[in-house]
């Protein structure tokens, strides 16, 4: 299908070491994939390649027509008001209306005219999310978007992303360190090892997801084992 994302034989070297070494990955249209792996395993490099920010040496990448990225830092233009940031790159009349609607969706309608440097961490990240959503992307790329938020804000943001994804039906690729986050959001967890997909885990939990789901703990152990951790260590 046209909305699928296909990666075949991707190779990316930094100096002598191949960070991605013949990697294959599929993100079927509408799927939510979480990409896990230790630091330096190439998660972010893969996401940057899909976002067009990094060029691989070898391999073939097929992408759906429109992509949007949410970074770990909000990366808002501090000299543009929140709505102008969201509307940046949109063309034609109605850009402001679209921006306002996206900001309502992320529950930021009260900060439409605020300067970005006055936002809290969670608000800024929601503005970044609105900036991605307003483009109505076929593929949403999330690069550890909640890593620098406090625990409570992170939980709210995860719920928000789960909602937005099920409402919009786009594909999503989430890079994360956080096993729980992967289990809360994704259909599939993919673990990167030695530059390739080391393990794929189907996450068959009912939505909305809950930590208290009896299958949650089992999947969690499995995923932690794949990352080379035992549960005692990770607790």
């Amino acid at each position: 299908m046209s909305g699928d994302t296909r990666v075949r034989g991707l190779v990316r070297r930094f100096g002598p070491t191949a960070v991605l070494d013949g990697l294959d990955l599929d993100v079927p249209e509408g799927a939510f994939i979480a990409l896990l792996g230790r630091s330096g395993s190439g998660k972010t490099t893969l996401l940057r390649t899909l976002a067009g920010l990094d060029t691989a040496e070898q391999g073939e990448v097929t992408l759906p027509p429109s992509r949007a990225v949410v970074f770990q830092e909000p990366r808002l233009m501090p000299w543009k008001r929140v709505w102008e940031n969201v509307a940046l790159g949109l063309h034609g009349a109605g850009a402001r209306d679209k921006a306002e609607q996206a900001l309502r969706e992320v529950e930021l309608q009260h900060r439409i005219d605020a300067w970005p440097l006055t936002l809290s961490g969670g608000e800024a990240q929601r503005a970044g999310l609105a900036r991605a959503l307003v483009r109505d992307p076929d593929l949403l790329l999330l690069d550890e978007p909640f890593a620098s938020l406090d625990a409570l804000t992170r939980l709210r943001m995860q719920g928000l992303v789960a909602n937005l994804w099920s409402r919009h039906g786009m594909s999503a690729l989430l890079v994360t360190h956080d096993v729980d986050e992967a289990l809360l959001l994704a259909d599939h967890a993919v673990v990167l090892q030695a530059g390739r997909i080391g393990m794929q885990l189907r996450i068959d939990l009912a939505r909305p997801r809950r930590h208290s789901d009896p299958n949650f703990a089992a999947l969690r152990s499995e995923l932690l084992r794949a990352l080379g951790l035992t549960e005692d260590l990770a607790a």
Binding site: G52, L53, V69, E73, R75, M77, W79, L88, W115, T118
Partner: protein, 279 residues
């Protein structure tokens, strides 16, 4: 335990009253800060009136005031001030246009960088006031050498700061903008130029300071009008009161133009937390 409670309640009131004082002072509301300048003025006037300070050396404050009134009434000061202002405005305008064009060319293109940056970095190490003799040979003794001197002096801060601002744009913001599908022109307009604006305005402030300095030098050589000429002319008649008026006018011009740029900064950089917090 009760001791602890008392140490907890006390500091909450004490520092707030202590902090209120310096803040008032910064706003210029503290009359104590006016004491020293006033005392100096009074001593100066007393010294002059009692004959300890000869008017050949420095005129008394009252004499300076009288000279100011006289120069205003005769229309001499407005005339010379107008000439000086015109020179600075013309020179500065040339510097702003040329400096901006050069900085944009060098900052935004590799070719421009290679062709422009190195010669400007070399030229800026030259003390530009040393070019006065050459400028007189080239441009004669009319308005041109004076305007050229102002333009030459102030072009460097304009160029250097804007160039540094463009080059210093956060690459993460450029990346984010490129994922939003911005064209190169839109990227420059919405990301690079606004990112460089704080630097550019700092450059403008330096440039204005240097343009007054260049004017002082330029007007003391072969001029027949302008504040600098007024002062050199007064020297021939040992009119220290008029020389002091000239100094006063230069100081006021520097102060006013600096305030102007600050106002511009507050308006254009309203997005910066410091712009809102600083008064």
């Amino acid at each position: 335990m009760p001791e602890r409670a008392s140490t907890l309640t006390l500091p909450s009131t004490a520092p707030s009253t202590k902090l209120a004082w310096p803040r008032l002072a910064w706003n210029g509301l503290n009359p104590r800060r006016a004491v020293t300048p006033l005392v100096v003025l009074l001593l100066w006037q007393a010294g002059s009136s009692l004959g300890y300070i000869p008017s050949r050396t420095v005129a008394s404050p009252l004499a300076v005031l009288a000279a100011l009134r006289e120069l205003m009434a005769s229309g001499a000061l407005p005339h010379h001030l107008g000439v000086s202002l015109l020179r600075v405005v013309a020179g500065l305008s040339i510097a702003i246009v040329l400096g901006t064009v050069l900085a944009l060319s060098a900052g935004l293109s590799k070719l421009g960088d290679d062709l422009i940056d190195a010669p400007i970095q070399m030229a800026r190490t030259l003390p530009f006031l040393a070019l006065v003799p050459l400028f007189i040979l080239w441009f004669g003794i009319g308005e041109t050498p004076k305007i050229a001197l102002v333009a030459l002096g102030s072009i460097f801060p304009i160029y250097l700061n804007l160039y540094a601002g463009i080059r210093g744009t956060d690459p993460k913001l450029i990346e984010a903008a490129s994922t939003l599908g911005l064209s190169r022109a839109a990227l420059i307009r919405h990301v690079v130029l606004p990112a460089a604006l704080p630097n550019a305005l700092t450059g403008l402030r330096y440039a204005i300071g240097i343009s007054w300095l260049s004017l002082v030098v330029g007007e003391q050589i072969n001029a027949d009008a302008g504040i600098g000429y007024l002062m050199m002319d007064a020297r021939d008649f040992m009119r220290t009161d008029i020389i002091m008026v000239g100094l006063l006018v230069y100081a006021m011009l520097g102060l006013l133009s600096d305030q102007g740029v600050r106002a511009l900064e507050r308006h254009a950089l309203a997005w910066r937390p410091s712009a809102r917090m600083g008064r």
